[in-house]
């Protein structure tokens, strides 16, 4: 530890995944996450790991499902259109209570969209994404350092709660280079999971990994159990960064690269004498609703800063039960707002001019 190296965000994810004990990567090429797969292709064969370029995103996520069923740490990565293709498989993984990591280095949409950074997969990531009732643990890094840190955290949480986790990044954090302190190499010693398929060795009844329950009350019970687990996660695992919130009268809410831009705007607003702070969700699911709810008691309003047409803003309104106004500052399609645009939003919320 202590050594900083200069790395691209996408590569930091890959190296952090390896250091956290991941030895299985299966994916399909797509911009802007290419470096991640390339890094894995180079490294995995040297350390006895598995790198496989699948025939499609659909095949890749189903290979992930297969590895996850054996109880091994496994990941895939893609970008928005590819993540849409993976949704069926993600639903099966959630329905079978299997852990894995899915990285989405988001680009603008809908459709083929563009290849520039975006946060417009927020709904898809935080509300389930595929068919049926389920959630993913969603972490949102805003620096290359966090790309590395949150990769290990996402794996750990996925395994702790036996559910898929998503690292929701954007093309900017994926592509930019920053100094990063990589996590220590974790012992990859494998412990058998008591639910995994590894062969019965004729010593136990067969394990079945499955999401099919044709008896409705059985399926309902499964869903109730899963949501009880989700409730515990919402109570204990929400993570966020609080920035200058102690005396704040306006609360900016932003994640990922939008939070980096917003931080500058908050400082500029402070220089103008405006009492502004920021809550930066680090987990998007569970959403830091409690922190926002408490902030709503003190501030006069919120500013949601997003690289989308306004998605997280709904969760902010829900968290604060619409008790305070929420202003949206947004860009879409691969465009990024400037600190001045955020500052204009802050001034508007403050009741001043927003020109």
């Amino acid at each position: 530890m202590g050594n900083k190296v200069l790395m691209k965000g996408n590569e930091a994810i890959a190296e952090a995944a390896i250091r956290s004990g991941c030895r299985h990567y299966l994916g399909y090429p797509i911009t802007p996450q290419t470096e991640l797969a390339a890094y894995m292709a180079k490294r995995m064969p040297k350390i006895g790991g598995v790198f496989l370029q699948a025939e499609s995103e659909i095949a890749a996520i189903n290979m992930v499902y297969g590895v996850a069923a054996t109880g091994r740490r496994v990941m895939t990565s893609s970008s928005s259109p590819g993540i849409s293709l993976k949704q069926e498989g993600i639903s099966y993984i959630a329905g079978s209570d299997l852990p894995c990591l899915i990285v989405n280095v988001q680009r603008g949409g809908p459709g083929l969209g563009g290849i520039q950074p975006s946060q417009s997969d927020y709904f898809q990531a935080t509300k389930g994404g595929g068919h049926g009732d389920y959630h993913l643990i969603v972490v949102a890094p805003s620096s290359v350092q966090e790309m590395a840190q949150l990769t290990g955290l996402a794996f750990d949480l996925a395994e702790k709660y036996r559910m898929p986790a998503m690292l929701l990044a954007d093309g900017t954090v994926g592509q930019m280079m920053e100094p990063v302190e990589l996590p220590e190499e974790k012992d990859v010693e494998f412990t058998e999971k008591d639910w995994a398929v590894t062969g019965t060795k004729m010593q136990r009844p067969h394990h079945i990994v499955n999401s099919l329950y044709l008896v409705p009350d059985e399926l309902e019970r499964k869903n109730f159990e899963r949501f009880e687990r989700y409730r515990r996660i919402q109570e204990t695992e929400a993570r966020y960064e609080s920035f200058l919130m102690d005396d704040a009268e306006i609360c900016v809410v932003a994640f990922g690269i939008a939070a980096r831009v917003s931080k500058n705007a908050v400082l500029a607003a402070r220089a103008e004498g405006l009492k502004v702070g920021m809550i930066r969700p680090i987990t998007l699911w569970p959403f830091p609703s409690q922190a926002l709810k408490e902030a709503a008691d003190r501030v006069k309003g919120f500013v949601s800063v997003e690289l989308s047409m306004g998605q997280m803003i709904d969760d902010i309104k829900l968290a604060i039960s619409c008790r305070k106004p929420v202003e949206l500052v947004n860009r879409a399609g691969g465009m990024i707002m400037s600190p001045d645009e955020v500052l204009a939003g802050i001034r508007k919320m403050n009741g001043g001019d927003n020109q």
Binding site: I58, A59, N62, Y65, A69, R72, V197, M202, L212
Partner: protein, 252 residues
């Protein structure tokens, strides 16, 4: 003295298949192969979506239920993760030759060291008898009520022939289970498909021509006859590819 018993690799669960359906025979042949080779403790099976969706209750080894068509991808993940285990998929024609064609072809071309049991009964059974990728020209189904018209619905997919044209796969064969002679041969071929995997040879697929009296609208006896008269002439039996034996596509 036991003269007849259920294979150990089948559980005691009662099969849900229709009267006259040959899935039961094919399950048994797979289980017998696993028993004979003594691999039950290290075998992992993948069930499809379709009539055999609940195969995970019938095979006594560890089992995974895959999404429709994705069994070869799931098998790939498992086999790459646990190369010492024996991994097989059990899939129908809609699953393997329609929605899952890409996964099938690419697992074959990678020569993924897995065993694929492909049950071809020329119809979608579970959903009530729709046209399958392998339904014969002129075959009447719920979604080809005037008979499969090749001008609009295209031609049946000959999976064994198609895959044997690839350089990748180790072993591709087609068998049937409509009479004792064919069943005995199918048993031998299915066992070989597992032996190939044990020996690390690679992708081995056995297409099994199977009967669906319920959705064909026939008695079980007539369904077995229909296999001889209609199915086998279109889908000839034999070993299409056996790389280790130097047998490539085209020689049968």
């Amino acid at each position: 003295m036991i003269v007849f018993e259920k294979p150990k690799s089948l559980t005691d669960a009662e099969l849900h298949y229709c009267p006259g359906c040959t899935h039961g025979i094919i399950h048994r042949l797979v289980a017998e192969a696993i028993d004979t080779l003594g691999i039950e403790g290290r075998t992992i099976g993948i069930a499809p979506v379709g009539c055999a969706v609940m195969a995970y209750n019938y095979f006594a080894c560890d089992m995974v239920e895959a999404a429709h068509g994705r069994a070869p991808a799931v098998a790939t993940g498992i086999k790459r993760s646990l190369p010492e285990n024996i991994v097989f998929t059990y899939q129908g024609d809609g699953d393997l030759a329609s929605i899952g064609m890409a996964e099938t072809v690419h697992a074959a071309t990678r020569n993924e060291n897995i065993t694929v049991i492909f049950v071809n009964n020329a119809i979608y059974g579970m959903t009530g008898g729709q046209m399958a990728p392998t339904s014969l020209p002129g075959q009447i189904t719920q979604t080809s009520p005037y008979g499969r018209d090749v001008k609009t619905a295209g031609y049946p997919v000959k999976v064994a022939e198609l895959l044997s044209a690839l350089d990748g796969p180790e072993f591709i064969a087609r068998v049937a289970v409509n009479n004792v002679k064919n069943v005995k041969n199918a048993k031998k071929i299915i066992q070989k498909a597992f032996e190939n995997q044990i020996e690390g040879k690679g992708f081995s697929l056995v297409e099994v021509i199977s009967a669906c009296p319920t959705n064909w609208g026939m008695t079980p006896q007539n369904a077995l006859k229909w296999i001889d008269e209609k199915m086998i002439p279109y889908y000839p039996l034999g070993i299409f590819k056996d790389k280790s034996e130097g047998k490539e596509a085209g020689e049968r």
